[in-house]
Symmetry: C2
Subunit: 137 residues, 2 copies
Amino acid sequence: MAEETGIEKLCRERNLRLTGQRRTVARVLSDSADHPDVDTVYRRASRIDPHISIATVYRTLKLFEDANVLTRHDFGGGRARYEEAGEHHDHLIDVETGAVKEFYDAELEEMKSRIAERLGFELVDHRLELYGRRRRS
Amino acid sequence: MAEETGIEKLCRERNLRLTGQRRTVARVLSDSADHPDVDTVYRRASRIDPHISIATVYRTLKLFEDANVLTRHDFGGGRARYEEAGEHHDHLIDVETGAVKEFYDAELEEMKSRIAERLGFELVDHRLELYGRRRRS
DNA sequence: GTACATGCAAAGGGTTTGCAAACGG
DNA sequence: CCGTTTGCAAACCCTTTGCATGTAC
């Protein structure tokens, strides 16, 4: 219960004031294997702290995102989704359930920067999303 | 002036009622080499028809999108951007200007479906966006 | 003519913000 | 203690929608 999450550690390193609400949001994201949207984070956080407000959840997620503690994604549907920052990877979204699978392919990564270079650009960021339907065995 | 755009042709083929406003929006998109957002389409359309309303622009863009006459993109920033539908291609967005470059790489395309397959999915859609900074020569 | 499209303004959904009260270091 | 953070509600931005009017076919 009193264990510190990696996110909390990062907050101290970056001199972010560690309030109860921030600890709560940090814990929710640390415990989430999916890529929850803001409302989901809010609902999960509310189970830990019933008084937390959605405004604080929004503010905290943005704070964490700016501090590179979390990564924000936009998989369509007009709502942001978050995950703990870490190694770069791409996403495959199940069009039927919205579930997200992460994957990494070195060859693909290399191809991305090669293409940007060919077009005369230095690759700053990139995103690849595959939308698929689970194959019936 | 009386020339028919490809989009208008598609409208007739798909039995979409060809109103003045739809012709206007079609013309704007046919004449746009960039990937305008809704407000930009509205402003350009207003120069042709000063009485067109933003609601009609929204409705028409959605109609055209559903009819596969236009493609909608979300390059971040929370506003949709449109382009005339055509061959599939990916996008490189200049992070400094927002300008969009289109590109196509067959090897990359093949890799996408190969990866989806490997993960047990049938590829339904995909999107790759590279965000880059123009290299100073 | 008649079903469908338009304009207007109001409503919606996600996100941000001003302000006074609460709180972390 | 003092500056930062929070909760609340109102504001914001983009987009959609209800309704009366206008229009393509």
